[in-house]
């Protein structure tokens, strides 16, 4: 138990270093663009593929389980939309990104630690935590909500495709369901959640990598720790944010 508090303390200390005043903001601008491409843009494909299949599967599941003359068919489209917006495109996509981006960040920074690249930055007088981690945090907090939007759009398209390709319902009913009782706030809620999750994935993974020491085995362990810890913290904050934002 004491170790958890010790780790939280070290994490807070590291974040203090990360958010201290940068040496040259111009340099950070270029690095943020680089990280946006490396961490965000390169995750579009994975997000799109998973979203289209999940959207299709949700629609199929709803159609199978809501088979009743008393339940209007358009509710299938409605349920797909709500599932995508409220949970899948933020929480589940965040968990997937914790696996892809989180392990990438932890292993990158961990390797830099064991090959003395971080020491080299420190010797130059560079705030290594800020130089390496801040651009990643800013890039993901700005870019991951766009992935959420993309996931919502592609997921609902996946539902539409399966509705059109099979006889489970008339596509027009699916479209009607998509617009039924639509609340813009749900999208805002989803984007806020994803921004918070992006911060968690990047900062927790960077923390695991930054304090890695030893050899390549330790980098592997740091990478695993990053994914596990990010996933747990995401689930915890999912609960907290849902309570705060939706009740």
């Amino acid at each position: 138990m004491f170790k958890i508090f010790e780790q939280i303390g070290r994490y807070c200390q590291l974040m203090g270093k990360v958010f201290s005043i940068p040496e040259k903001p111009g340099i950070y601008g270029r690095r943020i663009m680089y990280e946006m491409e490396a961490l965000g843009f390169n995750s579009i494909g994975l997000t799109a593929i998973i979203s289209i299949f999940i959207g299709a599967v949700i629609t199929l599941q709803m159609a199978i389980n809501l088979e009743s003359p008393f339940i209007p068919k358009y509710l299938i489209g409605y349920a797909t939309r709500e599932t995508m917006i409220l949970e899948f495109s933020s929480t589940v996509v965040a968990l997937i990104l914790a696996g892809k981006v989180g392990s990438n960040i932890a292993s990158e920074i961990g390797t830099m630690r064991i090959t003395e690249q971080i020491d080299a930055l420190e010797i130059m007088g560079v705030n290594s935590a800020s130089y390496l981690i801040l651009p990643k945090v800013v890039a993901t907090v700005l870019f991951f909500p766009l992935l959420t939007l993309l996931s919502i759009i592609i997921g609902t398209i996946g539902g539409y495709i399966i509705a059109s390709a099979t006889d489970i319902m008339i596509p027009a009913q699916y479209i009607e369901g998509l617009f039924y009782c639509f609340r813009t706030y749900s999208i805002v809620y989803s984007l806020i959640k994803m921004a918070v999750f992006a911060f968690i994935i990047t900062s927790v993974s960077a923390f695991c990598g930054y304090y890695a020491n030893g050899n390549s085995l330790e980098v592997g362990k740091a990478s695993t720790r990053a994914v596990v810890a990010s996933s747990i913290v995401i689930m915890l904050f999912n609960l907290i944010l849902t309570q705060l934002l939706l009740t």
Binding site: K24, T111, E116, Q117, D119, A120, I123, M124, G125, V126
Partner: protein
Amino acid sequence: MIKGEHISKSFEGRTVLNDISVEFETGKTNLIIGRSGSGKTVLLKTLVGLHTPDQGRIFYDDVCYTELGFTERKAIRKDIGMIFQGGALLDSSTVVENVKLPLDLFTDQSEEEKRARVDFCLRRVRLEGADHLYPSELSGGMIKRVAIARAIVLNPRYLFCDEPNSGLDPQTSVVIDNLIQDITREYNITTIINTHDMNSVMEIGEKIVYIHEGHKWWEGSKDDILLSDNRELNDFVFASAMAKRAKQQIVK
């Protein structure tokens, strides 16, 4: 000049450095030598500020480094260049980007000025035509040259080298050694090299400090080594039978 006074350092109860006092002179190539695990890397990292000594003080010229705050230390660090054992180049940056990084972060020079300085440093270490290669595309000797170019790009007053020859063939080692010595003399830098390469010791050892089991065991020049009767030093420097015979010949 860099001076350490009564430096001690332990890790988890194990004493690695024990009351070491040492002075390294400006314009000379100062060598720290010793067996693997003797504490020489810890001494170098303590002198450069990567480890905090448990006891003792470190002076950079007249400034007591160990008593400085974070901001004042940062100012001194801009006068320090360091060459790491593996080069420690940033993997995601090209040769030019690696060398230019300190200029990007700490100067207000224009892109043209920075580029001119980078080109000068790369020429100085005799590395041309590799500007846009990444560290993974370089040989061991080229990595060391880039590391040296990056270390000197801001005109440092102090240069630290952690086993600059490790993993290099003897010929390339001599080239790197001579390059470091030339730069030291040319810019009047205080250079400290941590090595267990005996070729380096005999080639450029103007001042040598031998560390044995965490203690400063001996100090002198490369010429003094040949005449020294210090048993541990002789066992370390003249480890092979051939080297022992060579020393006996020289002594005779």
